[in-house]
Symmetry: C5
């Protein structure tokens, strides 16, 4: 994210609508994948350029154009010209630090959100921005193209002629794409929940300052998730209320279902956050408890040996006329007295439950 | 719950409406219990299959079909076909990690919530998802079927001809079922409140880190309860506002009563949560207090014996020409001086209220 | 309250409207006190039974029927029959753990709230549930009847012919009764505020773990008050908005005044809660401060005497050829060195402001 | 404030509208100051009694009647009779623990708020209740009359013929009076902010438990300010929305300006509260830091001298056959060993950054 | 800010609309910069006085008058007279402690906000108040003129004939100016985020009380940013809802984009605040951890050497008849016993993971 912010700083003062990529760079060229389908036909192909603006015409088929990689500003500009996309939308697609939102531009909807998948072992969450332009008979998706996507199930379902996707418009395709994105949130949450359990075990077995850092890393990840899911809920809620003409009646019920899923994600997240904030309290209380135990050991040791050391020091004094020195039973008596003192101390501490 | 989540992960990317059980497995087969009743008749039977779609016809009798066990996907599919239930509803019934909610599908209402009962001794709260499909003349309830249910009082009341249940429609039956579910929330809360008192006694008698873990276990259970009761309140509130045609006028006043009960559950829960969060503060303050006491003992011991040990060490020095060694009253004088120092210290600590 | 909850558990699964007393038992029989009045007449009497349903007729006089003790279910049932009270209302009157609320049943209003008065010395707040049924020309009040009530000022005002109460309807009587109840909240708050000052003095004079327990006892009482006053505000607010036909125009301005009082109670309560939560911080900071002081004493003692003890130990060594032993000024020199070390330490600690 | 509350307790159970002074007593008699003005004339006089109800008639002049001291119930009663003020309003004027509010009685507005000014050095905030009755051509202000008022600037502006005050009605006079009251809130906030800086300096120079008490005193004062400013914002907001006919169009824009000022007061207050709550954290962290430093000193001392003392103790043993005693270089060797141990310790602690 | 507040105190009691500068003084004279432009022409000049009220006439050109320095009250008064600006607006322009807001005066909008830029190295955030008066064909901006402004990109864009700015009205110019202001918020946030990372490194490398002060300084800066961005969001939101006639349709979409930016600023700020509040917890836990470690070292040292010192003290006693003194192997045996004790202790601590 810090990369993104840095770039935004560079952009300060530019005219609105100025196209400039904000985010992590990718060296590979932009790839475009076009899928045209209706109930009976499906045509899938890879294209390299936007020659002849692709499939622009009122047609019974639905086109899904998936653009992988948004760092090439020229490609975006061509799209904008072909499909009449507002410059501000193009600017938002390029700036990969958008807050999830939906915007209605009459002819098309602009939807932007985060596509999240579990990072590799030992890594953070893998997050990528994905934008959708949804028109009457087309849907264009723009990905950052960093590491593949989560849309495989949709491609599979599209190949199935009986799928509801094939007989409905781009709004249902939008639902499908959003649905797999949200499903992957559950996957990430589960992974997170396992990592929380690991840290919890750590906390009990061997609480160290590193554990606290681990807890805060988890907390920050959950905060990040919260930041991307919270507006997503609003986004789906707004689609479900059919604020736009582009959403068909039949899709609404599915969007309501999706809305429930986002609420569930937020609920689970909330539970995890509560667990994690409890862990910090447990850490602090176990730390202060260990301090207590250490102090008790020190106090017991000192309380037993200080009086005894005083007594042996006493009889180390070199006064000429200390009568005890010459008494025959003085030594055993002192020995017994010291044993009595030590025993008394131990009994006292046992009573006070210090031992 | 973690089992449930794991399964949801497996389901990621499936088409919406795909039926797949999410939750804990149960080996026993699904059992179906049908009760048809009106003011004068009552017919109760167990059926094994859904042959002839059971009781589907406009009729003066009310049918309550109780399905015990939702892991068999085929049975659900049959129900869907017979009663025209939307695939998304069937999917929700199978996924046993639903947030409590009510959905109006015109012909029928879909209500889902958690049925809670006290766990066995030493166990957590026993929680099970229960779904209701409420039509004009039928109510279908789907339970996970893990460990019996809490509907016995309803079955008893149905046998009583004079019961209001017998002369009213499925909406009043729904109220009855929701009512016993909420009544069991009170039972669980009472059990929880007793466990809190136990932990509180523990806290005063012998505060240990295990106590903190106990407090957090309680807190997590209350968080879970809050998560299931909070949307339940909304659910009952929405029913009470008669958003649906399926709720009769006469039932509304009973739903208002039920609404009050859910608010009372939330209130009691809130009080318990406050008590528990106060317990953590008490634990921390008693820990820091014990530390203080331990430190005082250590300091008193050290402050008394260190000067005395210094003095006896002094007269253990082997200098040839230490005149004190030869004075006849040196020993008793040193003895008196040390007694005076010790007494002075004790008096000083008494004054400072350290003793 | 735990008694009440236990009973609610017993009631789990009963049909709604089943009359069963929930709460603390009272051995004395129910007492009924009837006051009929208009501008010119006042009739006050005690009755034992509800023979002939008392005063039921459209009449110019207003009747106030005060029922002391609600544990006798039969009496309640009679009232229900005579005045056409809904079974759910009767059930709520019997269940003495109701949340304050007002319910409009068309012919009558049902109002339930907590009547609070200061407990005896050393005791908690004395709380009792009181319910009002307000019709067009009558008001019935139901008290738990545990320990007298706070309505004496109303009885006195009713005896005064010029009182506004005498020339207005039962809605103004309701206002009067609510008003004395809220006035007693101020009395309890004042008592609480005094107890808080006591604990605060304790906190400064002699902070002990018992003080923390005292603070939490106060906090719990304030939480309880908050729970009963918060819905009371809503209750009065709803009456004041004249949602019901039974409230006359002239009474509204008095209810607005009462509403201000409840807001003031909440404000005062909020201030007290803030004071109390600050006390815990003060306790913790004074505890950690005392620990600091104890540790400083220990450190000063140890830092002064450990080097000195080392030196006297040094000259207690028995090596044959320690030249110092034979030097004539060795002893005084060592003495001076030790005095210098001790003085240096003291000066150092004074500089560091440790002393 | 506690005096006020005590009186409210005394008033418990009185009929609404019973006039009784609640608050601090003032021995001096009530003083009444009448100012009649229009664009061309200004008449200012002191009156002692309300003979002939003063200036009651529809007239082109505006009358401002300032009543200093509200403890004389009879004066209030006369005002009530002359100007037709509702008994509940008179009761509120007498009870000096009102929450700031505005009430519309049709013919007149009743506005009550706190007039605040900085206390004398070493004192708390000086707070006094002030009430306004605003009619079509008069404004009556009631002060507690404890220690002068803040209205001098208004008196001065009234003397200026070109002042907008002279050509407008009592609503603009109300704005003027509210404006100087709010201006004095800024003065108090600035004083408070200086006191916070003092405590902050204290916190860094010499953190003591007294500092914590100081912080909590500040916090309580800010809580008090919050309590009086928060409803004031609502009050001004409600006036600005012109809920009443008595507010002229031209005044609204000035009330909007005043509204901005109250929001600014709240903002500043919020910043100060945040600063103060941060101070407690700083105090705690500096306390725990000093504890750390004290402990380090103790540990260093003990760790260096305990081994050394052990060694010198060793050679204080009186065994006959300890060969070291007779070796000629034993003493210097032991001396060197001890120096090495001490040096090693110091190096170790330096490495661990403990020194 | 404290300077500003002090001045506000001085202003207490003045008539509303009295012009008086509140804020930091600037010695340099006010400078006025006038830019008149339409699609084809651009005229840029510096003026010293407001002779002939500059460009006041309905005209096709747009005028941007940028006033640098608001401390000269007379200049403001002239502007007020020329452009018919309300005295309260002029007062607000002069008082540089305004809360960001937009006010609609029919003929013109008044917009006030904070212009923020990164301070010089080692300095705080540089903040300056900027006000805009937006009429039908003119925009007047008033800056405090302390240290330059951030409007350079706008001046550059205005010189470009093809810029959208040139063909639109002052509302789009307002958008442009607000846009660069908000862009600079991102720059400041980035700088802050770097400073947070520095403090975080500090926290891990060498946690000291100074770090806590650093954290609180950061927190206060973020609080300040929150205070200026939060109302800014409302401000832009209100412009975007086109509450005023002065905002053209075509500008709304750009304002929506700007609104998104302010929300993004708030989001980033929220993340930073959460990071910082976590840092305090980390500091406290690492402090308490170091205390634990220090205490462990002390306890280990004391626990090993106290028994050993006791033993060597024992054999320093001068009793005549201690038989051990004469046994030939006594010394080696004691030596072995002490070694065994020391080894046992070390093993014990290793087991307890203290070492």
């Amino acid at each position: 994210m810090s990369t993104a912010k840095r770039s935004r700083t560079k952009k300060a003062g530019m005219a609105p609508g100025t196209l400039m990529h904000i985010g992590r760079e990718r060296s590979v060229a932009t790839q475009i994948e076009v899928t045209e389908y209706d109930a009976s036909h499906l045509d899938h192909r890879q294209v390299d350029s936007l020659a002849k603006c692709l499939v622009r015409k009122p047609s019974p088929t639905v086109s899904w154009i998936n653009v992988d990689g948004v760092s090439e500003v020229d490609v975006l500009r061509e799209f904008g010209a072909c499909y009449g996309i507002h410059p501000l939308v193009l600017e938002d697609i390029l700036a990969t630090d958008q807050r999830p939102k939906v915007e209605d531009y009459g002819d098309y909807l602009y939807v932007v959100l985060k596509m999240i998948s579990p990072g590799k072992p030992g890594e953070e969450i893998h997050s990528e921005q994905v934008s959708f332009i949804v028109g009457a008979d087309y849907l264009i998706s723009f990905q950052e193209g960093l590491d593949g996507d989560v849309f495989a199930p949709i491609r599979t379902r599209l190949k199935n002629e009986k799928s509801r996707l094939r007989s409905t418009g781009p709004d249902f395709l939008l639902h499908g794409l959003l649905d797999v994105v949200v499903d992957n949130y559950f996957v990430v949450l589960e992974q997170l929940s396992e990592r929380i359990e690991d840290v919890e075990d750590d906390l009990i077995a061997n609480p160290a300052p590193a554990t606290v850092h681990g807890i805060y890393r988890l907390r920050r990840q959950m905060l990040f998730l919260h930041k991307v899911v919270w507006p997503l809920r609003e986004l789906v809620g707004s689609l479900q209320r059919r604020d736009s003409e582009l959403i068909q009646d039949g899709t609404v019920i599915y969007l309501r279902d999706l809305y429930d899923h986002t609420v569930q994600v937020l609920d689970t997240l909330e539970t995890l956050r509560d667990t994690v904030s409890g862990m910090i309290d447990i850490y602090l209380s176990s730390t202060s408890n260990r301090l207590n135990e250490v102090m008790k050991v020190l106090t017991i040791i000192a309380t037993i040996f200080m009086p005894l050391s005083f007594i042996v020091g006493w009889y180390g004094m070199n006064f000429k006329n200390m009568p005890e020195y010459d008494l025959p039973y003085a030594y055993p008596v002192v020995l017994v007295v010291m044993a009595a003192i030590a025993t008394g101390m131990v009994v006292y501490f046992k009573r006070k439950r210090w031992w």
